[in-house]
């Protein structure tokens, strides 16, 4: 009896958690779009627009194009979203302690976040459409360019906190603003997040003036809705991680909102200021500057840690 209750409660909790996360993700997407619109002197969407989009997409028929592996085609969006949702379990979203935690969950989270991108790349390669193929190539190329610096940037605070566990690092960072001691790491983490989310200027993989919608060109209906939800969840997780590691932690929901929204404003500003980078320029930027800078940062941190403190 007790075990069944626990199972039911866990499932209920998971469903509620997922629903709340979706709504939070959609709200953040709206904030991002609205801020971008305001920066461009436009009105922007109304508050329910992302939700309406998702509901509309979910209600639509999903068209499976000819010549694709239909199991993969249908399965990939689910995998992508599942990856994002699982990652959310390890992250202190909204200041609430993560549901699961174990030493080394930072690595798992970062890889789960990459799962979404991988799924998008695979989905593009699966559909055999020319725009999708080019998009998939670009998505994966971009993955290999920002992933290393983003991860290294996340490692900075972890090295200082001497732990691979998100909750431990977040607790350690709660009293120290790592943005002051590791500014380069913060910058790389934030811009890496933009690359991860394929926001402008890193939106070459879905540059619609060149390759229509990139890897997701053939997706419609449910698959597209799931991919978009996955991205929204990833946006929340990414912002939470950066805020928790670099901006003095997200101890309570209020601080969480203030810090993540402030980060979102910066992201929106960066999105509005730059022209899209070509894929070769993106790769060049990340490997020539991003990785190098963050390595220097890590080295300095490491040496200070080792010999001075």
């Amino acid at each position: 009896m007790n075990i069944t209750m626990t199972i039911i409660l866990t499932i209920l909790g998971l469903i509620l958690f997922t629903a709340a996360l979706f709504l939070l993700g959609l709200a953040y997407e709206w904030v991002n779009r609205k801020l971008l619109a305001l920066l461009q002197n436009r009105v922007g969407p109304r508050w329910f627009q992302p939700l309406a989009d998702i509901i509309k997409l979910l209600a639509k028929e999903e068209i499976v194009p000819k010549g694709v592996d239909s199991r993969l085609f249908i399965g990939l969006p689910i995998f992508a979203l599942a990856g994002g949702l699982t990652a959310a379990l390890y992250v202190p979203i909204a200041g609430i302690a993560p549901a699961f935690s174990f030493p080394g969950d930072l690595i798992v989270t970062i890889y789960l976040l990459s799962l979404l991108t991988m799924c998008m790349g695979l989905a593009g390669a699966n559909t055999m459409d020319r725009f999708s193929l080019v998009g998939a190539t670009r998505t994966l190329t971009q993955l290999f360019s920002y992933e290393a610096p983003f991860m290294l940037a996340m490692l900075g605070p972890a090295i200082v906190a001497k732990s691979w566990q998100i909750s431990v690092v977040a607790d350690y960072a709660a009293s120290r603003w790592f943005i002051l001691t590791q500014p380069i790491g913060f910058l790389v983490a934030l811009i890496g997040l933009m690359g991860k989310l394929e926001l402008p200027p890193f939106d070459a993989p879905e540059a619609h003036t060149e390759i229509v919608a990139g890897a997701l060109t053939e997706y419609s209906g449910r698959g597209l809705a799931l991919f978009r939800l996955g991205k929204d969840v990833e946006l929340v997780i990414g912002l939470t991680l950066v805020a928790a590691f670099y901006l003095g932690g997200v101890a309570n929901p209020l601080w969480f909102l203030v810090k993540t929204l402030a980060l979102l404003l910066v992201l929106a500003g960066l999105q509005s200021l730059f022209a899209r980078l070509r894929i070769d320029q993106t790769v060049g930027l990340w490997w020539r500057f991003g990785t190098l800078l963050v390595l220097v940062q890590l080295l300095v941190t490491f040496l200070l840690q080792r010999f001075i403190l």
Binding site: L38, Q40, N41, R42, V43, S272, L273, F274
Partner: protein, 132 residues
């Protein structure tokens, strides 16, 4: 080489109202010289029907019922009109002019777009002749 040359526009916009007009809630005044619906007045019309000949969109049907008695019907199809004002130029007797106040012309069916000018009895007769 600079970065963020549009920073001032962007930050300025955060504290400014969006320029987008919220159309059905905010309406603009019609511009002073707006070209809107065509109006025809029978005074002085000599029935040359140049307005019909020259209309590039065939928006004008000029029906001559009786040239001697000056019984003309001027049918205007606003949905075909391109508002070029050529009829105003072509009419030497200044019978045709364009209104300049109404700019919201959308409707759900075509009936408001067919306007008849002329004596009501003549219009009826012209319409009856058309349906036959």
């Amino acid at each position: 080489m600079k970065l963020g040359t549009m920073l001032r526009d962007v930050t300025g916009s955060l504290f400014r109202r969006p320029v987008t007009e919220k159309y059905p809630f905010e309406r603009r005044e019609a511009p002073q010289h707006l070209r809107s619906l065509v109006k025809w007045t029978p005074e002085g019309c000599v029935g040359c029907s140049l307005c019909e000949t020259d209309c590039p969109a065939q928006a004008i049907d000029f029906i001559i019922l009786d040239r001697q008695a000056k019984r003309y019907v001027f049918t205007y199809h606003a949905d075909r009109c391109t508002f070029c004002a050529q009829c105003v130029i072509s009419c030497r007797q200044h019978c045709v002019r364009l209104e300049c106040d109404q700019w919201e012309l959308a409707a759900l069916d075509k009936s408001p777009f067919e306007l008849h000018y002329g004596d009501p009895a003549d219009v009826e007769k012209a319409l009856a002749g058309k349906t036959k």
